[in-house]
């Protein structure tokens, strides 16, 4: 465990130094990488840990972003304060839509989640309840401020986004090794056996879904604050595919893998800007090749070691 901690610490330090060496453009690229990393990490709970093929993550992200945008522009409440509410709303939405479909088998769940993200996008375009601003979206979202300090430059956002990413990574690492996280891994490996061992499979799946959605919703708030404009096209199915690909190519169930995946899929294309047209072409081919030659992803999660005797001593597995 110790060497892992050192690695995370070194990564955190290296990231914290980044804005000193990067110009505004590249800082912004890193900000995008950070946003995608947070989203992909939240998807990782559902897809990587629990093994649910969920390709509608942009829907939860959209709900978070729109909640923040609507409340901020109508009531003038500071964006970051809305974060918990945005998360909760996304979570409630996830609970409502996921409950009836949670028992579907792998690829059917995938198709239904695609359906959900498309319905959400169409609803946003059609200006549902007259609050989403239709196809143009919502603009004029105010910049966030932390303890009176107004965040406006890319450097400031860098620390906001990656700070939130660090929090996400910390909490998800805790989750991964918790009793709940281990149950999710068990469900992923063998659902029937997990059920046989007394794990309430449907309940665990649903909770995993909600955790992922809450986190995506909160991330949506940051996105809305960063862009100050949001439109339905930012939450299209293609975004969900990118998130899905980040998790699968990075190594599903592995936090370092997902972070690496976000750098590769979001950061790397910026280096080849001239070839932007062929970017998605290469993505597609890479997905096929990865599945054929290394279907566990670039950095798959290693086997987990637990000192069972110690756990039992501590009064039952926590």
């Amino acid at each position: 465990m110790k060497s892992t901690n050192i690695r995370y610490l070194a990564f955190a330090l290296a990231m914290a130094m980044c804005p000193l060496f990067l110009n505004a453009y590249w800082t912004d690229v890193f900000n995008n990488v950070g946003l995608y990393a947070i989203l992909a990490l939240s998807l990782n709970v559902i897809l990587g840990h629990c093994g649910l093929f969920h390709m509608g993550h942009a829907a939860f992200y959209a709900i978070g972003a729109y909640t923040a945008a609507i409340i901020n522009t109508t009531y003038g409440i500071p964006v970051l304060w809305i974060m918990p509410l945005a998360g909760i709303l996304a979570g409630v939405f996830a609970m409502i839509v996921a409950r009836p479909i949670i028992h579907l088998r792998g690829d059917y769940l995938l198709i239904v989640t695609i359906g959900i993200v498309e319905i959400v996008r169409i609803a946003l375009i059609n200006n549902v309840f007259d609050i989403t601003g239709g196809a143009n979206g919502i603009f004029g979202i105010s910049r966030p401020s932390v303890f009176g300090f107004k965040i406006s430059k890319p450097d400031h956002f860098f620390y906001l986004i990656w700070g939130f990413a660090a929090l996400t990574i910390f909490l998800l690492l805790r989750l991964e090794h918790s009793r709940f996280g281990r149950a999710l891994l068990y469900i992923k490996e063998d659902e029937v056996a997990a059920g046989g061992s007394g794990i309430n499979v449907a309940h665990h799946k649903l909770v995993a879904f909600i955790i992922g959605a809450v986190w995506a919703g909160m991330c949506g708030t940051i996105y809305a604050a960063k862009m100050t404009i949001i439109a339905p096209e930012s939450f299209s199915f293609a975004e969900s595919v990118i998130l899905f690909t980040i998790v699968i190519l990075g190594g599903s169930g592995s936090i370092p893998g997902v972070i690496l995946g976000s750098f590769l899929l979001v950061g790397l294309p910026e280096i080849f800007r001239g070839l932007a047209e062929y970017r998605m072409l290469v993505f597609g081919a890479a997905m096929v090749l990865m599945m054929i030659f290394r279907n566990q992803g670039l950095l798959p999660p290693g086997p987990k070691n637990y000192n069972v005797a110690k756990m039992l001593q501590a009064g039952g597995a926590k």
């Binding site: 579907l104 088998r105 198709i111 047209e277 062929y278 072409l281 597609g284 081919a285 997905m287 990865m290």
Partner: protein, 301 residues
């Protein structure tokens, strides 16, 4: 009432297209238990190849409209079938023994690849089929004005579907396909070359999809590199609606979905047209996951 019947015929014509594409999904699913996400893009390829052949060969001037369309359809179907077979060989066959997710991701990758390849080769813009090549005649049946093309389209898809149905039910190769769908291992023991059956399925499905693409191009007149995605999703919905893995189910499901969508667009709201299909999809998976005539797909926990 007249509008109702107009929308009904319109829905049946579009439903025929959905049914043709849905057949490709359902056949592949029947044999491989794989959702071929790239199928919608094979449909798009059909539409683009059709346009290229149409413009470059100038068939309509040389041999007249009807032989030209038939020749065009045959060429498109063969070409798309070849692409489908290559897709199977490159992207799916190496994954036959892998976990299901790998094959699904590979299919998605292939879909993204095709879409962007079409965009790079042609252009991201809408392309237009020459619009003066087909009859614009409108005929009157029992007080309804129906464009002739709509009827031709419906009849063509019906003929192709029936041909497929009899091919699967009555011929020896069709029997082999059905056997492979039920139990691949047993089919192998009976001397069926399952690899070849799968290859064949990946020829027939895309061929029908390609034909559907050509029909959409000819009927609607404009095509776009990403249109296969929406058509694909709806055709997949149709396949689920009818019961995936079930060939008559895909036909019924396609026609039904076309009608539901046309009526929904007319009576509920045109802006929500695309959402209707997805609502149908979600409802059918929740309420009756077997589809109207199909096998069981959902797992109870």
């Amino acid at each position: 009432m007249e509008e109702f019947f107009q929308q009904l015929t319109n829905g049946l014509a579009v439903g025929g297209i959905y049914a043709l594409i849905a057949l490709g999904y359902t056949m592949v699913y029947g044999v491989l238990k794989l959702i071929n996400f790239a199928h919608g893009d094979l449909f798009t390829i059909g539409a683009y190849l059709g346009l290229t052949l149409l413009v470059s060969m100038g068939l309509f001037d040389k041999i007249g409209p009807l032989p030209a369309v038939i020749l065009l359809a045959v060429m498109v179907m063969i070409l798309v079938a070849i692409i489908g077979a290559i897709l199977e060989r490159v992207a799916y066959r190496p994954l036959r023994q892998s976990p299901r997710l790998s094959a699904v991701v590979s299919a998605l990758g292939a879909s993204i690849f095709f879409q962007n390849a079409i965009m790079a080769i042609y252009s991201p813009k809408f392309l237009v089929y020459p619009h003066d090549i087909l009859p614009k005649t409108v005929i009157n049946i029992m007080g309804l004005d129906i464009p002739v093309m709509r009827i031709i389209m419906f009849l063509t898809s019906l003929v192709l579907m029936l041909a497929l149905y009899f091919f699967i039910q009555k011929t020896k190769i069709g029997t082999a396909i059905r056997a492979a769908a039920i139990d691949q291992g047993a089919a192998k023991l009976m001397g069926i070359n399952v690899d070849r059956v799968i290859m064949l399925v990946f020829c027939i499905g895309p061929a029908l999809g390609g034909a559907a693409g050509l029909m959409v191009g000819l009927y609607y007149g404009q095509i776009n590199f990403s249109m296969g995605w929406m058509y694909g999703l709806k055709a997949f919905t149709a396949a689920i609606l009818g019961g995936i893995g079930n060939i008559p189910g895909a036909m019924v499901g396609g026609l039904l979905l076309g009608v539901i969508e046309a009526l929904g667009a007319a009576y509920i709201s045109i802006a929500w047209k695309d959402a209707i299909a997805f609502c149908v999809l979600i409802l059918i998976l929740i309420v009756r996951p077997t589809g109207l005539l199909g096998e069981r797909v959902a797992e109870k926990v």
